[in-house]
Amino acid sequence: MIDLHHVTLTFPDGASCVTAVDDVTLHVAAGETVGVTGPSGSGKSSLLAVASTLITPDTGTVTIGGVDATALDLAERAELRRTKVGLVFQQSNLIASMTALEQLLVMNELTTEWRRRARRPAARRRALELLEEVGLTRHAHKRPAQLSGGQRQRVNIARALMNHPALLVVDEPTSALDQERGTEIIDLLLRLTAEHGAATILVTHEPRILPRLASALQMVDGRLTPLLEPLSAQPA
């Protein structure tokens, strides 16, 4: 699960400052998917950057799986992302030189810790299971260039789930896909989120997706407001 508590993030803009995230408080429980929509420039990407610990807010706290990310240094935040956060990028952002299987296995190789060697057999089993779950067993040894857009996005999702994340941060996963493939990906995401018990924040521009989520919020000028049923969101 994730808790954002009175989070504010500003960026310098010439002589002044732009408030990208304005006093946002948000709670997403394990297994729950919260959708965030809003116009371009409203602060959705900044919210995801803060939630995924890629950036530290000016004020407020971000707690992921019980760990206060705002109190951590750069290396500790990297470890938190590695162990508790799954990132599903807008574009699949797969590494061109790796096969689908290796895109998942790399999640076990992101440190120089010796114990990663001992974890390799388990990581391989986990990767193969996840590829099966996303229907890509037959494509495990294909590189991104040999996969379709939908297949690449499935690998992207499987990679995000590789390390049993407490939080899944999903950034417009269907933007590069046609409607049919987009629906498949959303179905897959919702199913896997529920099955794996991850708290999921999903940013999307597609209104048709929102009714299927536990709650949906709208971001306007850095502020979160309820869009449908604000089950767990508390706009500031």
Binding site: L54, R82, F89, Q91, I95
Partner: protein
């Protein structure tokens, strides 16, 4: 090195290209080192094999100390021999001469007298010791006659390898050398230098007393004009090749790192540490350098074996493994500087990046 290996497997063309460049530079460096070693050996091996601690020169005041201009006297030798701590003083005469056997001729360096060289002692009067190379070129063997000017000598031994100033050395008795030098019309010197073996001697005092200028055996090599300029030029070339190698590897990994920035941003966003990414990138450079340098050394060894005696080429760990190790170290340093940019990649760029 998970990422590094996948890159190496997939970007074969790119890595083969830079690997071939590393191999060729290694061949250049090691071949030049081998040639340098060979040329050095042909310049000084007769001196470095002498069983002595110090060489005493005597040159006119104000003149630079060189083997070519040195001429020591018997009195100077006697003064050195009287010094405390001096075990032995062996006058050594050095000159160039033409030697002949039948209708064959060769230009050699004569070493008259001097200390032992390993197990070889200077021959008895009327006898000479020639190298295997001279024996082959003059078609001589032990017991044959060799002429130096109008004097005839018996070949005492025809083996080994001893060079001075790129000429094979013929060793003979000091008095024979003095006679040959006198017959050439020059004022007969007693010897060219004194080879001194000593322990705990005061060399400054000995030099002052004898009017000589002495140097340790190795530092005395700088008194060989051709050696200093030759080794200087060759080493400069080797050093420049080392620099080029570091620059080439550094430049390749700079471009490679720039191309990898989007991937690095994704890996960092996923939780990769800077340490992991740096170790991975340096590991990749290490593999590339190891393969390239090993291939280069192997090629040099093959070329050196093919060159045989046609070139003054020395194939030893010092001329192959040492330059190879230096190249690998410098290449890694170049790659290390180039891959520093990896640590500055902002993982935030992976979010919403359009690739």
């Amino acid at each position: 090195m998970f990422v590094a290996w996948s890159d190496l497997r997939v970007a074969k063309g790119r890595f083969t290209l830079i690997g071939v460049v590393v191999t060729l530079i290694t061949v250049l460096v090691t071949f030049l080192s081998g040639l340098t070693g060979g040329l050095v050996q042909q310049n000084i091996s007769a001196l470095t094999s002498l069983d002595t601690d110090r060489i005493a020169f005597s040159v006119p005041e104000g003149e630079p100390v060189t083997y070519a201009d040195s001429a020591v006297t018997e009195a100077q030798a006697a003064t050195w021999a009287r010094q405390d701590g001096v075990r032995s003083v062996d006058p050594l005469g050095i000159s160039t001469a033409k030697v002949s056997a039948g209708d064959r001729q060769a230009t050699v360096t004569l070493f008259g007298g001097g200390p032992a060289s390993g197990t070889d002692v200077p021959p008895a009067p009327g006898r000479v010791a020639i190298t295997a190379d001279t024996a082959e070129s003059l078609d001589l063997e032990a017991g044959d006659q060799l002429r130096i000017g109008d004097a005839s000598f018996v070949v005492d031994s025809a083996e080994g390898d001893a060079w001075y100033s790129h000429m094979p050395v013929v060793r003979l008795d000091l008095r024979d050398w003095q006679e040959i030098t006198a017959r050439n019309g020059a004022q007969a010197p007693f010897a060219t230098v004194l080879a001194v073996s000593a322990e705990g001697a005061d060399f400054t005092r000995a030099d002052g007393a004898a009017g000589t200028s002495s140097e340790g055996l190795l530092t005395s090599l700088t008194a060989l004009g051709s050696f200093k300029s030759e080794i200087g030029s060759l080493l400069l070339m080797v050093v420049m090749l080392f620099g080029i190698s570091a620059l080439v590897v550094g430049a390749f990994f700079t471009v490679w790192s720039l191309q990898r920035r989007p991937d690095v941003a994704v890996l960092k966003a996923l939780g990769a540490t800077n340490r992991m990414l740096t170790v991975d990138a340096l590991g990749q450079a290490g593999v590339l350098l190891l393969v390239g340098v090993t291939a280069g050394i192997t090629l040099t060894a093959l070329l050196g074996a093919l060159a045989g005696t046609a070139l003054p080429f020395v194939l030893t760990p010092v001329t192959t493994l040492l330059p190879g190790a230096i190249m690998t170290g410098l290449g890694l340093a170049g790659a290390g500087i180039a891959t520093r940019s990896i640590t500055h990649v902002d993982p935030l760029t992976a979010l919403g990046s359009n690739r």
